[in-house]
Point group: D2
Chain length 414, copies 4
């Protein structure tokens, strides 16, 4: 036991722990139940046993999108599901309205451009969600109805700003413009309240590796009647991502080509887990964890990239570095010293922000463990900050049993 102190001081590296913390905003950690459900023999995708699986996941996915309409599932990334939304509804030369909420909105725009879509891209500063008023103005001005679709990212994974889709829907409705509403719910679905039917979204785009807590490999489209009607007349060559090809065999629980069977096993388990917890509880859990994260960030004296409190993301928080400090060096210090992966700043904000994911399989102690890694990392990397961030987060999270914590929380969440 003598000399213990000396060894405690030893430099890190070889003693880096084995169990990593994965706190990127997706892929999110996969729960054991889901991994184990996937770890089973593959079955004949033309069997009645498969049909039962197929029906279960197709119907169950609808519950998560909060839609009574069809959901299609592709063996693809979320990017593939973006492409599916476009090639099934639009034609080369069509004009659409998009909003520059961040990196992923920009990528989606580029993807549209590759298919000959003309994009009216409302510029943004990456610090808030899509502005319903601006959308309303553009649509109101488009009296010729040249705009075929409004395409918005619900939760901008690169910035931590969640656009208010219900408000955007209302804005569109006020103009009585017939444009389709297409929404990227890639990092929000299953973690943030999202209502495909109630908000009259025409195409909702999502994937497996965020709120569904699955490994990557599945893309989703939830489809309105109006979108499906558009798909019958649009002119865009397609095959793999064609909805009708999917929907025909889907009616009986089958797929037009070999599906990613084992990911579907996992999806069945994931849907069951979300419904067991209850979607409202899942959403509340994410809001609570996000509020705690912001409490820590505020205490550290760092700035949230998202500037609009009503649009703070429940699934990730993008944190701005103080001037003169590089976010990627900080992330490296955290990874090297504490074996935790944080999300990088992307594109315009590369090196300027780091992102803390708190989505999917995340709970109080996991999040707080992650926040200790951030706080210690700020010290280790020499980034100026106030201590006490983790403490602030704890204070918020321990409030659950207190009846009159509203004033405290009001401060935090506004």
């Amino acid at each position: 036991m003598v000399g213990q102190g000396a060894e405690i001081r030893r430099l890190g590296g070889s003693h880096a722990s084995r169990t990593p913390f994965l706190q990127i905003p997706g892929p999110s950690p996969v729960p054991d139940r889901i991994l184990r459900a996937m770890d089973m023999p593959v079955i004949d995708h033309r069997s009645s046993e498969f049909a039962e699986l197929g029906r279960t996941v197709l119907e169950g996915s609808g519950k998560i999108f909060q839609t009574a309409g069809p959901v299609v599932i592709f063996p693809s990334s979320g990017t593939g599901a973006w492409e599916a939304a476009i090639v099934n509804t639009l034609s080369p030369g069509d004009k659409v309205l998009m909003v520059e909420t961040g990196h992923f909105a920009t990528l989606w725009r580029q993807l549209a451009g590759r298919f000959g879509i003309e994009v009216d891209f409302i510029a943004g500063d990456w610090r808030r969600g899509a502005d319903p008023a601006l959308i309303e103005a553009r649509l109101a001005a488009d009296t010729a109805h040249g705009i075929k679709a409004v395409m918005v990212v619900h939760n901008e994974t690169s910035t931590g700003a969640t656009s208010r889709i219900a408000d955007i829907r209302a804005a569109i409705d006020r103009t009585a413009h017939p444009a389709l509403l297409m929404v990227d719910t890639i990092s929000s679905l299953g973690s943030v309240d999202y209502r495909h039917d109630e908000w009259k979204v025409d195409v909702s785009v999502s994937c497996s590796q965020k709120g569904f807590m699955l490994p990557p490999g599945l893309g989703f489209n939830a489809i309105s009647e109006k979108a499906r009607a558009a798909s019958r007349t649009n002119k865009m060559p397609r095959s793999y991502f064609d909805w009708e090809e999917m929907l025909k065999p889907n009616a009986k629980g089958f797929f037009p080509y070999t599906p990613a069977t084992n990911l579907l096993y996992g999806l069945r388990e994931a849907i069951a887990m979300l419904l067991e917890e209850g979607l409202d509880n899942v959403f509340a859990r994410h809001r609570r964890l996000a509020a705690a994260t912001r409490a820590a960030v505020n205490q550290w004296g760092l700035e949230n990239l998202c500037q609009e409190p009503s649009e703070f993301s429940p699934v990730l928080t993008a944190v701005m570095m103080p001037p003169g400090h590089d976010a990627d060096q900080f992330r490296k210090a955290v990874l090297d010293n504490f074996n935790m992966s944080l999300g990088a700043g992307l594109s315009k904000v590369a090196g300027k922000v780091f992102r803390i994911g708190h989505l999917g399989e995340c709970n109080e102690l996991t999040l707080l463990g992650a926040l200790t890694g951030v706080e210690m990392g700020l010290s280790v990397a020499g980034v100026p900050h106030r201590s006490g961030g983790v403490e602030a987060a704890m204070r918020l999270l321990e409030q659950r049993d207190q009846r009159n914590a509203s004033s405290h929380l009001k401060v935090v969440s506004t």
Copy 2:
């Protein structure tokens, strides 16, 4: 113990055994090593740990395609990889030459049609591979070089006929025609000898759930220099399946969008397993198992759908039902009584053939167990046949230690 006989006679159903036999020609059974490799936490797809994985599977895949050139891997089914081959090399209105070897060749033709490709489809009777002479004749006649590509299915999964790609290559070379050669290796790669570079194939298309012994969810393209050059000038809108978008980040082990990480874990293990066994041994094993299967079929007095001995498939055997007997009723009897899934006849041969898969994780005793299921199923379903099929297969498979078994084998393999 008294009355034991009575219970043995009880009808099947509830006592159907739990461990199924999956003898469809893909998805093939996934070995435990691969399932377990996939059953691990997902990692950050932008980390150096991921880059190491990415490089390993991209390089390793090349060894299986027997190419020194690039291989791209999509989160998709094999159908997606077909689409990738087309959208990266051809333009709407282009003309290609395809051969009707069976159901999957026909599907590929339809897919091409959806992208505005004009297909010269050499008719076939689904009982042999693609005829090099016919391809040669068409190309020789195309002096204007209007044909942009020859597209062939290496192993036609619907019929059990394996086209002779080396001979087709030679036929093309004799005409000095500049058409690209694109080959579907979906059910052959990793089980049947296939040489992308030596045979100067331009695009080889494959997927994860056959010879790679993985669950479905990955599509592959191996790409020649010539194909890549074509991709730089062709006119086909694309994004998800775009090669250049893949190849840029692939150079460092990364992917342009979130890859199917856990399937890549499995792919790393699968490649290791194939190389441990040795590709030549893997190919020989499949040929041996196929020969045993045919020995059984011959003995039963049933007919192999494939009529050309030099094109018998090493990975599956499609068996014709005697007139008046329905293949699907037979398959149902096998499934209900013996818990084994056999492949159905597809499209033109629906109800007329059943298919025995013997690919991927298949060995002597597994195959023979499957053949006992077929032989007993023939009895149970009342399909006229000679007994002794399993015995014939055993006789062939036990020959391994005998030096002068050539005459016996010659009979079988010709």
Copy 3:
């Protein structure tokens, strides 16, 4: 394809298949459902969540033993459960009656000897079960009631003879002798009909790796009131295997020391699987598979070690080698050529018999695959035999849908 025949003839070894057949009479193959149930995080063994698990497996085990009384579960092998039966009921110097049914009966006798128990060991030829008449005679002669226990192996794993416990019970009852009846059900429980309560067994001994289809690591004792009363007065030092220490915390679902939690997860799944199939169906399945195995052995012209048809084991068949042929060389040939493990002859019959396990997770096609391995192995090893064994087994197993198969079956099962 040219030269295919040549490669088929290649000698085995490197192309030995990866998926082994495990046809020893235990450990039996573990179903995926059970392995996956065990592949979960360990939990606090003092938590209410654990108590729920504990109660479930303790009660469920009783259903498999067909007892309403207590069952205790040790982290141990079956050998440990043997020891538990002895140390809880007997005292040094006590006399017991045992029957030499084979190797395991002999081992149990040795174990008793190590604890100072005097064993009256009824000699046997290892070719039949325990003779009720002999037991009756010994007890009748023991008018002083010096014999404290009759200890019998239900299914002698070394010989494939199943003693008739109901008849033994009746024999004991006829003598009105107060001896305890202790039965080793190690390889029978969960596969062969066994009725702890109905047969008034006092201690039933079992383990995890046979009919429970689990990995090794759990030992079981089902305990009658009479046995428990004996445990309160016997004189044998014990701690780890002490029943009372177990039974106290067991009442609430807990254990006196850290239990093998993950094996208990598997046990919960195993019990569920057995009850889903239905114990009667499970027993009938084993009888059917055993009958098929014997049909093959008969056809090969080999001799079953067990000579008494009413005692043929449903879970394994021990086959005698023809004179001059070594069973272990044969087993090695089977393992080297076909990657199948068969059971060795033990002790007195070492080298003279091999054993085919057909217990636990075994079904028609798995068994027939195994029998093809035996039949080919006989050829490869040059053991004289008639071919047609697999065929005979198939003929029996395909009878399930035939109404008047009784005569055929009568021949087989007698």
Copy 4:
């Protein structure tokens, strides 16, 4: 987003997170690598493949005990390994010297009593390790050498005090007393520096579910030549735990009865992981985590049960509750609100202490996550404390890159 604050305040329960924290002092969390290694088909325990496994784990276990002598592995709990130490070396009526370090020392004493061993039990207050001076005094007084063994618990899991075995060895040596030295390393082995050979321990007792990071189910004895000699002459009936029965087949990698094969798969992986990290690094990691835990406890103003700084346990910290506060109510609040299991106070200290495990698969962020759960739990349960405990732990753990942190550490570790 409106009303978010309201929902954050919702009471816990249904939204309790799914991923539990297991911070009891064993069983410790099982790493994925180990669980997956165990999740594989069982093999024939008489095969050469098994022998390879057996030799690997037997030799590897020796490296962890730091012995060149034999280690035996039982399918048992640690309690079974205690029993093995006794029944192999002592005889009924023998006298031994034990030290009351806490609950587990007391249990071991009771176990010895059940085997007729007379125990001289040096009383203790459960707040420190075994005192070498007292042991020396007793042995010195025992000039007749009636004491056959000194039995000590290395790390007392119930109190968090680690006895100084090297000093105890020196004390024994000074008396030249021939007693055997037997040490319980159940919760220390593989986490705390332990040297069987160097410290001339005769029997070291351990198990699988602590430093080995395995599920429970294996017990270990490392055995000196002197202990083995004692086992040849002692008089204690035994069979299951008999060393010689083990050592004979162990020499070739086999076991005398069916071993817990899948746990041995896990053991092979565990040993590999420990040696990959390096034992010195593993030991240093545990000391560092323990120091951080104590820093938190000090800051909270709570008292460490262990009062001797040189004996603070690297693997767990037992914390005393303030008077009037029940530890189990506190633990329940932590479990209900934060889904973390803490260790209970046992026996004499039931309700008075809770125990924080930080052993095996534990690292900085996991530990800090656990400490946030303790700190919030203290608030939720209304236990008086100073905040800032997690902060103190972070300050210590972030010191790794600072050269002159000695003064800080000195304060913490004393």
